[in-house]
Symmetry: C2
Subunit: 450 residues, 2 copies
Amino acid sequence: MEPTKFVLGDEHIPQSWYNIVPDLPFALEPPLDPATREPVGPEAFAPIFPRAIIEQEVTAESRVPIPEEVRRIYALWRPTPLFRARRLERLLDTPARIYYKYEGVSPTGSHKPNTAVPQAYYNREEGVRRLTTETGAGQWGSSLAFACRQMGLECTVYMVRVSYDQKPYRRIMMQTYGAEVHASPTDITQAGRKILEEHPDSPGSLGIAISEAVEDAVGSEEAKYSLGSVLNHVLLHQTVIGQEAIEQMELAGEYPDVVVGCAGGGSNFGGIAFPFLRENLVNGRDTRFIAVEPASCPTLTKGRFTYDFGDTAGTTPLMKMYTLGHSFVPAGIHAGGLRYHGDSPILSALVHEGLVEARAYLQNETFEAGVAFARAEGIVPAPEVNHAIKAAMDLALEAREAGEERVILFNMCGHGHFDLSAYERYLAGALPDLELSQEEIDRALQELPA
Amino acid sequence: MEPTKFVLGDEHIPQSWYNIVPDLPFALEPPLDPATREPVGPEAFAPIFPRAIIEQEVTAESRVPIPEEVRRIYALWRPTPLFRARRLERLLDTPARIYYKYEGVSPTGSHKPNTAVPQAYYNREEGVRRLTTETGAGQWGSSLAFACRQMGLECTVYMVRVSYDQKPYRRIMMQTYGAEVHASPTDITQAGRKILEEHPDSPGSLGIAISEAVEDAVGSEEAKYSLGSVLNHVLLHQTVIGQEAIEQMELAGEYPDVVVGCAGGGSNFGGIAFPFLRENLVNGRDTRFIAVEPASCPTLTKGRFTYDFGDTAGTTPLMKMYTLGHSFVPAGIHAGGLRYHGDSPILSALVHEGLVEARAYLQNETFEAGVAFARAEGIVPAPEVNHAIKAAMDLALEAREAGEERVILFNMCGHGHFDLSAYERYLAGALPDLELSQEEIDRALQELPA
């Protein structure tokens, strides 16, 4: 029987995270103070992040050792399996060989715990007793709640009210792990009260929830704040995905011609791609890399590569990245994890320099791909992943056209067990396709900081 | 780093299922015709099951080869991981070593596809084009929908109306796999119409849904019926769990002193226990076996070992088993998979002969155990599994009392991602404890067939 999947024992959990920054053939531009336009130093982050995380954010080392305690918690689900999608290949009648790395086996069903656990670890090591964060539909919040429980930390999650009310399952998961979950905006922060005064029925937004979580942490002796994507240290932690995948592809006797991932803030993409990209940069490989995003939030494909705020309220340092403008509010697509106005500065620079390609797809075509995948391979994917699946399927069809045996690897960063209402709407033909027009993009970009 | 889990590659998927019947130190009593009280032959099942399944139901062979095509589909999730619950051990401060086999990594999140796939396979091999079945909350229905899609069969699921309305996620999962799902009672079967005439607002029941699914299959040239628990062939298919666990325990350098599983119809319990029980029967081991059930449906602990119908409507052959009477309607606990008036005839006989022990627990104490497990080990368990966890924790505490290093293995037959509303009710203190009184049991047992 030819193998369908490639599994590794606990001893193959990587010993270090891979930092791509020193291997880049260009320099990253630093974050700037919005008032002075001067580069901000690491100390600007001290009120919200612990020292070790700030060091990782700016480190010049290629390898950052993973603490043993973190590896022991990783062992609850890592190494994750690598699958060969033989049934999908047959469906597409393609000479391409399609592989996917499956992060949905984590306790919370996505790749998010890969960074939640070390973030909780370093905070606890430095005496922090509570972490605050924001969450939309709850993938990140539930992962941080899990990680905090493992480390004996308290966890306070500001959950966007509309999700709090309409998607109770992830909220309950956070509470099962012992986290305190607030519907944001709340009346316990200034930021929240200000919104509620003006809009008592506010449905909330990620921007508002971030403001509340940061204010809570900054105003508290024992608390820090935790972020689940975008920043360098988050992408660093996610590189366990790609490092394992390299070893598993070796087991399969293969090396990918193309690596695909969906991109919202960029962390699952960076996680699978950067260890393979290193092979291009350091060892002369020539793999293609494709980041896939929604046409309704086409940051990498139609945004501008410039300095912008990381948050909606405009309180963070300015970061050089592809952005649609920090006040851009993406349409309410079901791939909630891809609804971000900007993108990781590292990934943005890689796209700008032409080392990573970007593609955008409409909502319905991604769900069509996701349903085909579920019927062929069994796993119902998260809506975010459907973007990567659509691109992988297109690449496999291109390989068929070309009559070439290409090897395609994509990151299946989570399952869709909490997203089935989106599938119901798709199957009922009720999902809108929300492509952003050039006019809307131009209007959004007018809001960029001067 | 000491290993947390034990994984096996695809080549370790068992080559055969293990049939315990020929190794039993007693004879199983045959199913009887309810009218004549004569044993029914295999031909009685021909209208609803294919020949190969009927043969497996009555086979005297110890080993039944697993078809290669079934093994290739098993490879989408099998072998499942075996974990050592080191964090739970620390929490309990016990010298016991606790292991669990985790079936939640299957596409539908439970052990059910282990039998759904071969059932769909044998039906397709014999020219069947459609399978019908019933489902309550949907674990079984979604597994059969997945299996039918893999085999290119149509799938018709009669889903109890109250679940259809209140628990849409598993319904959508079935539809995503392409199954047709009806809220039962329907107006497309005689059985359904009869109920609807008398009770237009009927919430449905598993008994009604079974009647509809069987009627649909019997009245259709191209369709057969499929059952997800209780019968011998279902337990047979589930023995892949225990066979893998034996190999994984060897990897861990261990052998269990006690094996624990929850029991509703008996299939996940039989799946993990029978391969180990064989070691007792054939190779002189002396492992204990404990089947755990809810105090609100205490079939094995307080039912009678006698002949009864398998279904509520009283249409099946009579089976010798522990039963509370076929017309007994269990309370609406959240462990829907454990709400069955009877139990597997094989498991019932094993309990009756003293080879397997049985325990019953109240709802809140099982959820208390499940939340402790989720906080320690990360995975939120299905409510059914919480019964096994509670027993395993009690056994670990008993080991601490005795100061003995016992090895405990339990079957974690599914995750709780679709059951979080039950956790919400538990955390809010709103779950009732529904212990069945002796008077209620006596009353239910009066309904046994003469």
